[in-house]
């Protein structure tokens, strides 16, 4: 029995520290002893009904809980990292805020509102300009690359030395991808991939480290150019969304920590709440620039990000998205020599689709397309998941990842060249605009159809598949292309390069949609089948099967094709694709979020969870601070635990050590606030002297935001540790609390809707008994696959 008691105590102690358990156990235990004698006495028997002593391993309410292992194999989906912190969406209503409101009054409020609109305008413009630069770079570099390659092919095909242009292609791919991959792997790993999972986490309220820094933006921009020019099966749309988010976070703060430059503007927006609002607007502007879809952008930020419908924010966001698409349109039109024509609303332009008439009997066909898309999407996700796990387990070091990216670049070129070489699909010149018609083995006056697909950017290929007339491609070449591109794109996503998955999936989907259209035409020779219709539906189905987005994806596709009348087929397809895909696995973004062990809160609380109470969910031994606290104690506590919020409680009435009590809640104070207070030495030698902190205002806290120093960086002399600090003016005096008998759904709703970070749990007399944070709630995860459903309790680790 003593053995088990030891291990439990051991566990409790290790939970409050990031250090190795083996070496520091003794020290932590001694710390805990100190703490429990001074003001932490946990073992007061209280009237909790469910204090039955079943083993802690088994979950209580039919929740599947694994036997907690000591070690986890990396690459598991059922784990949460303890490293992620939450954003503070809740405003801290302390004295300083009241002071500021009183001093500045209504003019300040109005001024802030005007500033918000101005910032949104800037966000729209800057995001569009970044999109413009990326687009132009990709276009120009691609043009040069493919023109030179064509020259080389034309020259060497007659000399029987086709390996020279092939190796040239491989080499150019590798060189270009190498640059981007080095940047991503060594300079900013968070810029890898599309960035949408990271932005989604940020908007959900998780502080993903380094995700909205200017360095990330630079790496992302260069990375996406190199990835697309390097011939990888990736798109530039996802990275645009991330870029928009970074732009928003940067502009709204009026300073750059990376360049150590403070412009002394917009100080009042330096808090998590305002920053998150701007980031959601920035992500929307990014979507809008990427797809020319302003409404789709707004809906994207609503669907992925914000926790409730904020009318004013949505309106501002919409303004930002419209500005963004307009600016991009102007810039691109001017660049292409058609200034004022405004015919380039976004980076991805599927081309104007004619409204395609459809009959009722076609709806089942669209559903069938949706099912195919859902299954292919699930397969895509499965392959990508397996690859991601492999990458996590075996490809850890940056240089290995760079080598991998280069190998994939070489393989992409190989794939393309082999297809051109082996499938001799020739088409007469001049039937449709081909930038680089490559003859290869075709007769004179013809060009290789596959070379035309491979020797252009993927966007142009999507357009070809959508708009080319029936019979432009042989079914066999489409089939081979679909298989190759499907595998290449799932292989590419997750490499250490920044590229998205929208375009590759649209391309794959458009290709198999066209293939199915050809098959339907074979079966029904009397009808004229419109290949554009089925290609578009196929593209939507494939993309919907992979990303599983609903509202925003529908609107984005409608807006890029410019046809509202196609909405019903697209909605039906996307819904069926999502349902079919969800039967097998999660959407690709959720898979990557789970692999990163991010505690993301879903839209809804787990069902059938009303019998789980706050007393089970909460973390129990709460580390509290007294309203007037000893500086030494604060420093010690901050060094001991990694928590970010501490309940502030009344001092105990009597100094009786034996009787253990919970103490009455007075407020909540954050680690960051304590750090700033310690840094500025807002404390007194004597607890009874009057407090003279008139010069303290909100800007003291804002100037350090968002990167506060750690407690170890502060220099606190020994004599200062005897001083005392009054926390009352700085703490949040009225935090949201819940009684310990509150159910999980209730807790979840409060937490998610208000974007809370810390939620103290109190007993009947308002005494703190526990604390709920994001990780405590996020560990209850619902899974539903293959017709089954259940809830699982995840395990935490601080080493992921």
């Amino acid at each position: 029995m003593s053995q088990s008691s030891n291990s439990i105590a051991d566990g409790t102690a290790s939970s409050i520290s990031n250090v190795e358990t083996t070496s520091d156990t003794a020290q932590l235990l001694s710390h805990e002893e100190v703490a429990s004698t001074s003001n932490h006495q946990f073992n007061k028997p209280i009237n909790f009904e469910d204090s039955d002593d079943d083993d802690e391993i088994h979950g209580s309410h039919g929740i599947r809980r694994r036997q907690p292992p000591q070690k986890i194999e990396p690459g598991s989906l059922n784990i949460l990292s303890a490293k992620y912190e939450s954003l503070d969406y809740d405003t801290c209503e302390n004295h300083l805020l009241l002071d500021e409101e009183r001093k500045r009054g209504y003019p300040f409020f109005v001024w802030k509102d005007i500033a918000r609109w101005f910032i949104i305008l800037l966000i729209g413009i800057v995001t569009a300009l970044i999109a413009f630069i990326i687009d132009i770079c990709i276009e120009e570099f691609s043009k040069i690359k493919y023109r030179e390659l064509k020259k080389s092919v034309d020259k060497y095909v007659l000399l029987d030395r086709l390996y020279i242009p092939y190796l040239l292609w491989v080499l150019s791919n590798i060189c270009i991808v190498f640059i981007g991959s080095m940047l991503v792997a060594y300079v900013e790993p968070v810029a890898a991939g599309s960035g949408i999972p990271q932005v989604k986490c940020y908007l959900n309220g998780v502080k993903v480290p380094r995700v909205v820094r200017i360095k990330t933006l630079l790496v992302k921009a260069v990375g996406v150019i190199t990835a697309v020019v390097g011939g990888l099966a990736g798109g530039k749309e996802g990275p645009m969304i991330h870029s928009g988010a970074v732009v928003a976070a940067g502009i709204s703060q009026g300073k750059s920590t990376t360049f150590n430059k403070d412009f002394k503007i917009f100080q009042y927006f330096r808090e998590d709440h305002e920053k998150r609002d701007f980031v959601s607007a920035g992500a929307a502007a990014g979507v809008s620039a990427a797809f020319g879809a302003p409404i789709g952008g707004v809906l994207f930020s609503l669907e992925e990000g914000t926790s409730f419908w904020n009318q004013a924010l949505t309106w501002r966001t919409f303004f930002g998205t419209v500005v963004s698409t307009f600016t991009l349109n102007c810039a691109l039109s001017a660049y292409h020599g058609r200034a004022g024509e405004l015919s380039y609303p976004g980076l991805l332009n599927l081309g104007k689709m004619d409204p395609f008439p459809f009959q009722f009997y076609e709806l089942p066909v669209f559903m069938f397309f949706g099912m195919v898309g859902g299954m292919l999407g699930a397969l895509w996700n499965f392959i990508n998941y397996k690859l991601a796990v492999f990458r996590i387990r075996y490809i850890g070091t940056p240089w290995l990842r760079v080598v991998e990216a280069c190998l994939v670049a070489a393989a992409s070129a190989t794939c393309g060249f082999l297809m051109m070489f082996l499938l001799n699909d020739c088409r007469p010149l001049g039937e449709d605009p081909t930038k680089v018609p490559l003859q290869l083995f075709c007769a004179d006056g013809e060009y290789n159809a596959l070379a035309a697909i491979w020797f252009q950017t993927p966007e142009a290929s999507v357009r070809s598949f959508l708009h080319d007339p029936m019979g432009s491609y042989k079914p066999w070449s489409i089939l081979v292309f679909v298989v190759c591109y499907f595998l290449l794109s799932t292989w590419t996503f997750g490499l250490s390069v920044s590229s998205g998955l929208f375009i590759p999936n649209l391309l794959t989907g458009a290709a198999w949609g066209r293939l199915l259209a050809i098959l339907i035409q074979y079966m029904l020779p009397s009808n004229t089948i419109n290949p554009a219709k089925y290609a578009l539906v196929g593209a939507a189905a494939q993309l919907g099967g992979v990303v599983r987005m609903t509202i925003s994806l529908t609107v984005i596709i409608i807006e890029t094709t410019g046809q509202i009348s196609n909405a019903l087929p697209i909605i039906i397809t996307l819904v069926v694709a999502k349902w079919t895909g969800d039967f097998f696995n999660e959407g690709i973004y959720d898979i990557h979020i789970q692999l990163a062990a991010v505690p993301l809160l879903p839209w809804e609380p787990p069902p059938l969870a009303h019998n789980i109470y706050a007393s089970e969910v909460m973390s129990h031994p709460v580390f509290t601070l007294r309203t007037v606290e000893n500086v030494g104690h604060i420093v010690e506590l901050l060094k001991l635990v990694s928590y970010n919020g501490f309940p502030v409680v009344d001092p105990p009435l009597a100094d009786v050590v034996e009787i253990t009590t919970y103490k009455r809640l007075r407020g909540v104070i954050l680690r960051s606030q304590l750090i700033v207070l310690l840094q500025n030495k807002i404390y007194n030698e004597n607890a009874n002297t009057t407090w003279s902190n008139l010069n303290v205002d909100m800007n003291m806290f804002r100037s350090e935001y968002p990167r506060y120093p750690s407690i170890d960086q502060l220099e606190i002399a020994d004599w200062e540790k005897t001083c005392t600090m009054d926390l009352r003016p700085f703490m949040n005096p009225s935090p949201y609390t819940l009684p310990h008998r509150a159910s999980l759904p209730r807790l979840f709703r409060l937490f998610r809707a208000l974007g809370l970070r810390h939620l103290p749990i109190v007993n009947d007399v308002n005494e703190v008994v526990g604390m709920v944070t994001r990780k405590d709630i996020a560990r209850y995860r619902v899974w539903r696959h293959r017709g089954h459903m259940g809830m699982e309790e995840l395990i935490l680790s601080s080493e992921i």
Partner: protein
């Protein structure tokens, strides 16, 4: 390129205006009954009559020379007549009444304008104007490029015909020189190497026909295909590389320590511990 032709077209139109008073000596075959009573617009009727005649001439010519396409070269006379007459119709003013206002945009049918546009659309679609040198807008001549192309084309064709008569299998070798010359010259004609949007249709079609004969009938492009063993070997090696890389990483990679599970601090554990303490 389109803009250039548009500009050209306008210049043309402008210059036509200056020549609007060319005496019209076309015979009148038919008088519209409702206009014959009115003596003054008779002039307009004459013009329309002539215009109808030219329209039918141009249509006939276009159809006659449709396959193989030589209509640009053969119908220039008809085109010029047609075009000039139409400009005349637009610009003639008789006693303050313009002919345009009588025949064009008067009703829903608008037959004159519709036929004009339809007939002209064939001409424009074929970029026929590109065949000609328009330095003298009244009398266009075949441009130097077209003439040169035609020379080369005739040479090639003659060569092919000559050797076909002698020995069919010799065509490829013997005529390669001429064919390549023609092909290269054709490629210089347009900027985008496809030529669909700027080259005169006569030239375009001749080239297409030649290329088709060359590469399909005589199969002279089979030389392009070759086994390319080295290329296939390179491709095989490069596609095998990632596989080796992954296998190597899987079995030879450094073994890393697995992350530890974090024990969570929960109320139940604390209760248990306190009970244990008391027992001990």
């Amino acid at each position: 390129m389109n803009g250039f032709y548009l500009a050209l077209f306008f210049i043309l139109q402008y210059s036509m205006k200056l020549k609007a008073d060319i005496p019209n000596n076309n015979p009148q075959n038919w008088d519209p009954p409702y206009l014959s009573k009115d003596p003054e617009p008779m002039n307009c009727t004459t013009i329309v009559n002539a215009f109808a005649q030219y329209a039918s001439d141009l249509t006939r010519c276009s159809i006659m020379y449709a396959r193989p396409i030589t209509l640009c070269e053969n119908c220039i006379k008809e085109y010029m007549n047609f075009h000039t007459k139409y400009q005349e119709l637009l610009t003639t003013v008789v006693n303050g009444t313009s002919c345009k206002s009588m025949f064009i945009s008067q009703d829903r049918l608008d037959a004159v304008l519709e036929y004009h546009d339809n007939i002209l659309s064939i001409w424009d679609k074929g970029h026929c104007n590109a065949c000609y040198d328009w330095s003298n807008p009244a009398a266009p001549t075949l441009s130097n490029q077209t003439v040169h192309f035609n020379t080369l084309y005739k040479e090639t064709n003659n060569c092919i015909q000559k050797y076909t008569a002698e020995n069919k299998s010799e065509v490829c070798n013997k005529c390669m020189q001429e064919y390549l010359q023609l092909d290269d010259y054709y490629k210089t004609l347009s900027e985008d190497a496809v030529g669909v949007d700027s080259i005169c249709m006569d030239v375009f079609d001749s080239m297409n026909a030649t290329r088709s004969t060359w590469s399909k009938t005589y199969n002279c492009c089979k030389l392009r295909r070759s086994p390319e063993i080295i290329f296939l070997c390179c491709a095989a090696i490069i596609s095998a590389l990632p596989l080796f890389y992954y296998i190597m990483l899987r079995y030879c990679g450094p073994i890393r320590d697995f992350p530890n599970v974090l024990k969570q601090s929960r109320f139940k554990q604390t209760i248990l511990r306190s009970i244990n303490r008391r027992i001990n």
